[in-house]
């Protein structure tokens, strides 16, 4: 036979074995589905958490960037002075927009929100200063530019306090980062679990087909020929596990979708949960398939050699 034809035969045989192996799984649907479900759950846990922390990180970058901050003026600064300052600041390119909050406005808002209404009535005068809320321009919204802007604002004699508390955003990010790292540890452990699950399932399969393996060896089957259907079994388990994992994650996020939207709405944020992207779905599929294949490979390597015809 010509090399091209040999190669074609080889591929035809692989496709046949792959389909046969799929057919075998189809004929025992409950057992196959259970194995796929176990693998799927093991894969879904780290992928779901990974997605969740990814969303949290996205949320925090929204905060530390476009958030506005407040500039508190000295108590002695008058309305005219404040308005003059406001007009000057309006010209700055670093500033997108600003809003003046008078002491009266601030007091009534505080009264409304804090529930200290009666206590506030006992005060002789309004203790609150003028406040200017500044929203940085979109191009100047990174942490460094904002820090520079704050520095510049502090040089004004009218300004008592100009501060954006980025500290907590940093802390939050650090926590998310730690969680992300621990997800990798968890993913490694659960990956190992997937290996063991497929390995064990394939081992049982090999035990069940002991006679068949011995007979095919007896009539001249190579180890590769005998190994192939089991490897394809592992392959399919991995594929099905990955699909189950993807579905579980999508389902879980679907459940979270509308409550998160509601919460974001309360904060006037357009934030919405992001689910698996195409690349992430592919990565999940590749991870599941490789783990299934590797598990099968390990089991086959260990157990097939032990079966010799007599």
């Amino acid at each position: 036979m010509k090399p091209a034809q040999l190669l074609r035969n080889y591929f035809v045989r692989h496709v046949q074995v792959a389909l046969n192996s799929l057919g075998r799984l189809y004929r025992s649907p409950l057992a196959s589905l259970m194995t796929a479900a176990v693998i799927g759950i093991a894969l879904a846990l780290p992928s779901g958490l990974y997605l969740l922390t990814g969303n949290l990180q996205r949320l925090s970058t929204q905060w530390d960037g476009s958030a506005s901050f407040s500039v508190f003026l000295h108590k002695t600064v008058s309305l005219q002075q404040t308005q003059a300052l406001q007009n000057r600041l309006q010209q700055w390119p670093e500033i997108d927009s600003l809003q003046l909050i008078t002491p009266d406005q601030a007091l009534s808002e505080f009264r409304e929100l804090s529930g200290f209404g009666e206590a506030l009535d006992t005060l002789d005068e309004n203790p609150l200063p003028f406040v200017i809320t500044i929203k940085p321009a979109r191009t100047q919204a990174d942490a460094e530019s904002v820090a520079l802007l704050l520095e510049k604002l502090r040089t004004f004699p009218e300004v008592e306090l100009a501060q954006l508390d980025l500290q907590w955003v940093k802390r939050f990010n650090a926590i998310v980062d730690i969680v992300r790292r621990s997800i990798w540890v968890m993913a490694a452990l659960l990956g190992l679990a997937v290996l063991l699950i497929t390995g064990n399932t394939i081992r049982l399969e090999i035990q069940n087909r002991r006679d068949e393996i011995a007979i095919t060896k007896l009539i001249g089957a190579t180890n590769g020929f005998i190994r192939r259907p089991f490897l394809y079994n592992g392959f399919w388990y991995g594929v099905m596990g990955a699909v189950v994992a993807g579905l579980l994650v999508e389902l879980a996020f679907l459940q979270l979708h509308s409550p998160v939207r509601q919460l974001a709405g309360l904060y006037q944020s357009g934030f919405s949960l992001q689910t698996l992207s195409l690349t992430e779905s592919l990565a999940l599929l590749v991870a599941g398939t490789s783990l299934g294949l590797l598990g099968a490979w390990l089991a086959v390597g260990r157990h097939l050699a032990a079966i010799e015809p007599v």
Binding site: N9, Y10, I215, L218, I219, F225
Partner: protein, 224 residues
């Protein structure tokens, strides 16, 4: 086809199964291997099929020294041998057709070639109409004929049979032996281990006689 040169086989438990066996079975010949149970008939066949390796001496199959065959070549050597067993060794979850097709699938034949050869083999053993049946639905004699069809389907130059009629009544046994004769007549070398002396003494072929692991004689017949 098969040449034994002072071959010994000792099992790990220390039992000497074969001692100093030397004989030569020419290509195209047919012979019986006889002797009591435990005389070493099965061990001898296993050495030829590389199911066991000899501890001493050399044996050749089709000019190839089997004492030196590397492990990865074993499957290819087994493809030159059609093997037939006392308990048939069929796959019970597959049809007669699929059982017979197995050696061809292993050897990588294409689909069309497989159907044609399987039908030819089933035709030779007279089971063409049972190709869709499962082995469990067949009688013992029929199962053995499926086993024979599987052994000859890829036209191997050598047939080895280990007590092929051990589970069959005399009449069926005779039919099976006639099948072997038929294959021998078209050029296949045949070696049959059997202790059914009544049957084989009626047939004009060489008998290789084993006793407690030694070759104690060989009764030559002229081919008909």
């Amino acid at each position: 086809m098969i040449r034994f040169d002072n071959v010994c086989k000792r099992y790990p438990e220390g039992k000497e199964a074969l001692q100093g066996i030397s004989f030569h079975l020419h290509s195209g010949a047919m012979a019986f291997l006889t002797g009591h149970s435990g005389a070493g008939k099965s061990t001898l066949l296993k050495l030829v099929a590389l199911l066991e390796r000899s501890t001493r001496g050399q044996l050749f199959l089709d000019g190839e020294n089997l004492s030196r065959t590397p492990k990865r070549r074993i499957p290819y050597i087994r493809r030159k041998i059609g093997m037939i067993f006392q308990n048939y060794r069929l796959l019970f979850d597959r049809t007669v057709f699929d059982n017979v097709a197995l050696p061809l699938v292993i050897a990588g034949y294409r689909h069309q070639g497989i159907s044609r050869r399987v039908r030819a083999a089933l035709d030779k053993v007279g089971l063409l109409d049972r190709e869709r049946a499962f082995p469990i639905m067949l009688s013992g004699g029929e199962q053995q004929r499926v086993g024979i069809a599987r052994a000859v389907v890829n036209k191997p130059p050598l047939l080895l049979a280990d007590e092929p009629t051990g589970n069959l009544d005399p009449e069926l046994s005779y039919d099976i032996m006639q099948l072997f004769e038929h294959f021998n007549q078209v050029g296949v070398t045949v070696l049959i281990a059997s202790h059914d002396l009544d049957l084989i003494s009626t047939m004009p072929y060489t008998q290789i006689i084993l006793h407690q692991g030694r070759l104690v004689g060989s009764r030559a017949h002229n081919s008909p």
